[in-house]
């Protein structure tokens, strides 16, 4: 069986200060830093965000392998973007754009590796509580959120299996032989997950 892991990193249990911080504070920090990266675009900002990303990764004791995995997942796209930006606007601009994206991926990895999905669900349920009166069901929204997180590695796992199956039949160069079964398998899996949630009585509340 092919085993895929989340490109944003799985939760690593721990007791660091970042593990203990409330979910809301961490998420707000991530949002603020994202806004800063866009609003104060520049070499200094990008450099500072990269340093911060590395520092927080060290504080949170993010495993090197998890950090590299996160960066590897976006490396190809970022390399293309860096090449394009260098060609169009110069190396400094490429550093600003690509460096900021890299820093934000690292910061997002710090968030996911220090925050269990269960804590996120609790936080989302709490935040959406006041919206109950408007018909919003916080438990269901939180469950959808957790399914999305779970869906990332699972889709990668299905993609790897489908690619292997296409390769085994000598069809590795035929995109249709890869994409069509992949879409069908993802939809079938979504339906099976729906059945499983239904069977567990989740969403009945």
């Amino acid at each position: 069986m092919t085993v895929a892991v989340s490109p944003l990193g799985d939760y690593q249990p721990g007791t660091t200060v970042l593990h203990r911080l409330p979910v809301g504070a961490k998420l707000l920090g991530l949002v603020v830093l994202s806004v800063v990266a866009v609003a104060f675009r520049g070499v200094t900002t990008t450099g500072a965000l990269l340093v911060l990303g590395v520092l927080l990764s060290l504080v949170a004791r993010v495993r090197l392998r998890a950090a590299l995995r996160s960066l590897r997942a976006v490396a190809f796209g970022l390399a293309l973007l860096a090449a394009y930006q260098s060609w169009q606007q110069g190396a400094a601009h490429a550093f600003v754009v690509v460096g900021a994206l890299l820093a934000l991926v690292l910061l997002a990895t710090v968030f996911t590796t220090t925050t269990s999905v269960e804590r996120m669900i609790d936080a989302i349920t709490r935040w959406l509580g006041p919206l109950r009166r408007f018909g919003v069901r916080p438990d269901l929204v939180a469950l959808a959120f957790s399914l999305t997180i779970r869906g990332i590695p699972l889709t990668l796992e299905l993609a790897a299996e489908t690619r292997d199956a296409a390769r085994a039949r000598g069809l590795e160069r035929n995109p249709r032989a890869y994409l069509v079964p992949l879409v069908i398998r993802v939809v079938a899996h979504a339906r099976a997950t729906g059945d499983a949630l239904h069977a567990r009585g989740l969403g009945d509340d």
Binding site: M1, V3, A4, V5, S6, D10, Y11, P13, S116, V117, E118, R119, D122, D139, L143, S146, L147, I149, R150, P153, L154, E157, H189, A192, T193, D195, A196, L197, H198, A199, R200, G201, L202, D204, D205
Partner: protein
Amino acid sequence: MSRIELDRVVVRAATPGGPVPEVTILEETTLDLTEQRVALIGPNGSGKSTLARLVNGLVEPTSGRVVVDGLDVAKKGRQVRRRVGFVFTDPTSQLVMPTVIEDVGLSLRHLERDRERRAEAAREVLASYGLAELADRSVHTLSGGQRQLLALAGVLATDPDVLVADEPTTLLDLRNARMIGDLLLGLRQQLVLATHDLDLALRCDRALLVDDGAVVADGAPAEVVAHYRATASG
């Protein structure tokens, strides 16, 4: 002991674009299941899974009634699902949280709102199934046997009265299939087990042979399995 009743249940499915507008998945079936362990056996596509899925409302009958402990599944689905746990063939779709302990915790959410107490209860459940050391592991990194055991632990965490298992050992190797099979047959819950493992079926208290959408044999497992073996070998 729980009681599962099927009263003249028929299941049909529409076949858009097919040669006939709808096909019968399960012909009219009336059953009264009161035994501790009931096996459903039969060939692929015979209707075993449909029969199993009727018990907790995953499949709704086209006509007839399914009643569990006096509760009509169509009308009291929520209460029935609290009483009836379900284990699927492929545990991957059943495990919806990233880590082992969180997945069991998800089952316990409606029983315990406090996160710390819920985590403690989840650890107790994991310990009782020998999964304590895997508590913080990602579910993606588990073996097939560990995933199925976790899926089972997640369902049994809420202590249902009935457990329906739809070919839970089909994807497992011999050792894991035996381990899961032994565990299922040793449960205090009433068990409805759809399976291709005839050794497992023989250890149940009652067996139903389903073929081509109908229950064609019903009785003591030894007789029903012998009948299935005779018909399967032509």
